[in-house]
Symmetry: C3
Subunit: 378 residues, 3 copies
């Protein structure tokens, strides 16, 4: 008799769970990781699959794994500058194709993990070039550098994300290679944020606040407000929680910049904010289950990233180099290596999904545990 | 019959061992690691325990784990400069409290392992500030930077001590952040030791010899002779062997400085010696069982540390940064990674105690082995 | 009955294998790894054994493990400059003896693995010294620096070769220590390859092509054509495949230099080529089984090494330092860490031999597998 009761109860709980799961899936059709798309395109043409991988790669830069976000971001880039959009597209394709050719893990390729570094390298090479837009010779180093990014999957052994290490290494090597007065690929030297300005005017508060959303756009090296807001929208589409952390991190970065009296340009253009935004997004919800403790840790990491970025920019600025996103990459890697009670919130790299999904899977799993215990009590 | 003999013999050997152990314990009440204190304060107020943890943290900078040594050193710092003493106290407390709050391993916290980096950061921020003593705004970055040091326990995976890596990283980041002409936290650029002086006078031998004890004081960034000798006394209180190695290492560092013709200031102030002292102390007795081979290795490491320090100071001096204790930290980590027959003398990190205690536990353990073998023979 | 057939067949296949092995051994008496020599000298005087270890160490610089190649290379060095030859000999002996004294793994010592870093350090210290030849005081730092190289075997844990990391670290430390105007050990600052020349004359094609074999000689810091060709001969003696990759890599490096418009001197002297040569040799046949895929990877690595070398030279040139072989060492280490389908071609460090031998042992092993399967079928 009691056996039947148990099965009925189990079935009921299962149907309840399946219903809630179905509702959740319905909500997450266009948001979150969009895993259902992978099954749908599995049998389709290679070009279509490559496009989806590429769009996932585009979104991966802001730690999102959603082709729609990628499409929005690509649109924002073409809006800001068609030349930059072209470079970005080329970079993500060159990088992904190289990974396919040398036979990297197909799951990683499909997740866009081999595309985002190539894209960033291509974008930054365009930004730092002083030869102007539509300088076609630039496509040669862009393709080569992006392809080199496709080679790399390194930090698997330590359960760490490869993150933007390849991008940061390759772009620094390229900029060092060409120098500032290269006859083929000229570029302007980078001014460190600590440099004093001759006529030190007062800060304009509106411009500083405008720098906060621009900090999100600076992740893709855009300095226009419209495209930056569109990129922010793409983040919110993937995960609203990530979007909140992006803005919060950018604000924290701007605050850090203010406290260290960096150049006004640096604050106005959002350059002070983007490392903070990246650091805040990575810790707040993505690699750690969201809770008030990880939220505090995310803010701490945003501050650490922002200050490290100022420090590295001042250091690398002495040889005319930008600090790119070294600061956020290093501090986030450090946070992931952190031991202590916070390590309990860490999500293993293989199971990282959209923050909402992470919370959901954790609570479901805990609910499952409770149910099990209850049914054992019967 | 023989069973009784055995038990009697065993008991006798036990009582002999317990007696010698009691004598040793009696001698080591105030020297060595003072582990008995931990049991004594276990049930006491949090403030008292925090004070002991902090004092252990103060002593940990010179690789000692003894609250009395810590108290002596703190007295020396207040003697040299009350402002520096205050900064040091604040640093060690901020760092230890952060570690408590984020839930680091309580054994590590009680051993002062989360305090010494914060203290060093605080001291160095005070030394490099050109705003003068009692510049209260400095307490803000001091607290933040020290708290950041409390986050870190990193190298557990490789059985290496975290050492002063966090301190070295954080202080370099802070100095890079502020730059030399920061409106809020100004500082003077650091002159590299290889810089030639305009009027090259002859060296004064007495001053050079005076630089050797000053080298021990420079570990805490004090340049006065009295406090330096008091700090040396604190080391001797913990372990006379460590004290000998400290002076020896400082002398080796001064010798290395002489052979490379560094600036006279660098020799006179003890800056040439302190990396050698740290390197010599770490290898000679602390992380390796003391023997003539490890003694030679300690001297070799002192030379390596001192030369590396000159090299790094020259390198970092080009961007106006000090080399801090990077040299000693790196070379010591290298020595701990060394394979070959020397690796046999290596003491696992978890069992590192005062050098005398290390030797004692090894010989006791060997004696125990022999006894056991004898009793098995009966 | 069938048991006898099997044994007969087995014996026949064994005798066939032993015959082919004997022929191979006959061919490989003077080429390849010359392992038979080790058995022959095992019982001989220490001095003779030390000489063989040293010569192996000399050849190890170009990744060869053959004492005859080492002798040829040493002859080339004495031909180019007797002083440099003396320094090289001293360096390899000091380093090997240190390794013997501190009790490093005897197999590694006999294979010359503890000699080549010391030799390179000694050669480079001679090259960068501006005190002229036969400046006897230089022997003191040469011996100390080479001995320090003898301490190091580090990367065993990660199945990576220690490579020339110790050399690169020690030489940079030495050059930083002495600075450019040291009273005891003076040297000229290094000019980065990206520096523009005042009167930019046209490139001379013959000189550029002459730079390709010079690039192989630059591995040993020789700039003369004759000794460079002799060194190339020594590589071909060890393994013709390695020789081809050396020339190919040097050509790739020169091409990379041309594409980045480096100084003409850099191209003419072979400095542009030697990192490419090292990178190409390491990947093409030595650490990976030779095939067309690894051949392509070798060329890619040569490009990567060459571009990284230009980048690092420009960076380190700002503080007057040379980039040595950092670029090739880092990119090759990266290639060895590469995952994906190429990792299948990777040869474990303990089994690395001459490229021809690697291919042979792989095909023999596969043949053995097939034979075994056949005999199981009987």
């Amino acid at each position: 008799m009691w056996i039947e009761t148990k099965t009925e109860e189990e079935e009921a709980s299962r149907s309840r769970a399946s219903f809630s799961r179905r509702v959740l899936n319905g909500l997450m059709l266009c948001t979150g990781d969009m895993e259902h798309l992978d099954k749908y395109i599995q049998e389709k043409w290679f070009v279509l699959r490559l496009a989806v991988w590429g769009l996932r790669g585009v979104a991966r830069v802001i730690l999102a794994n959603n082709p729609l976000s990628g499409a929005l971001i690509l649109a924002a880039l073409y809006w800001a500058s068609p030349w930059q959009g072209l470079l970005g597209t080329l970079g993500v394709l060159a990088s992904t194709l190289t990974a396919v050719v040398i036979g990297q893990d197909s799951g990683d390729v499909a997740g866009g993990l081999h595309g985002f570094n190539g894209m960033l390298v291509a974008l930054l090479m365009g930004v730092f070039s002083s030869a102007g837009d539509w300088y076609w010779w630039l496509l040669l180093p862009v393709c080569l550098a992006s392809a080199t990014c496709g080679l790399t999957t390194l930090l698997d052994h330590w359960d760490l994300p490869a993150a933007v290490f390849p991008f940061n290494i390759i772009i620094v090597l390229y900029l060092l290679c060409t120098g500032t007065n290269n006859p083929y690929f000229p570029r302007d030297p980078v001014v460190p944020p600590g440099a004093v300005e001759p006529n030190d005017t007062a800060l304009i508060a509106v411009e500083v606040i405008r720098g906060i959303p621009l900090g999100v756009g600076q992740i893709y090296a855009t300095e226009a407000l419209g495209p930056s807001l569109l990129i922010l929208g793409a983040i919110v589409l993937y995960s609203p929680l990530l979007g909140v952390h992006a803005v919060l991190g950018s604000a924290v970065g701007t605050l850090a910049g203010l406290s260290m009296a960096v150049r006004h340009d640096s604050l106005y253009s959002g350059l002070s904010g983007f490392n903070g935004a990246l650091g805040c997004m990575a810790v707040g919800g993505l690699f750690f289950t969201f809770s008030w403790r990880t939220h505090l840790l995310a803010i701490a990491n945003a501050f650490l990233s922002a200050y490290s970025d100022i420090a590295l920019s001042n250091l690398l600025g002495t040889v005319g180099l930008p600090a790119c996103s070294w600061a956020a990459t290093l501090t986030t890697t450090l946070m992931l290596l952190l031991t202590g009670s916070l390590a309990g919130y860490r999500i293993p790299i293989g199971q990282v999904k959209a923050p909402e999904c992470n919370m959901c899977s954790r609570s479901q799993w805990e609910a499952g545990n409770t149910e099990e215990r209850e049914s054992t009590d019967v």
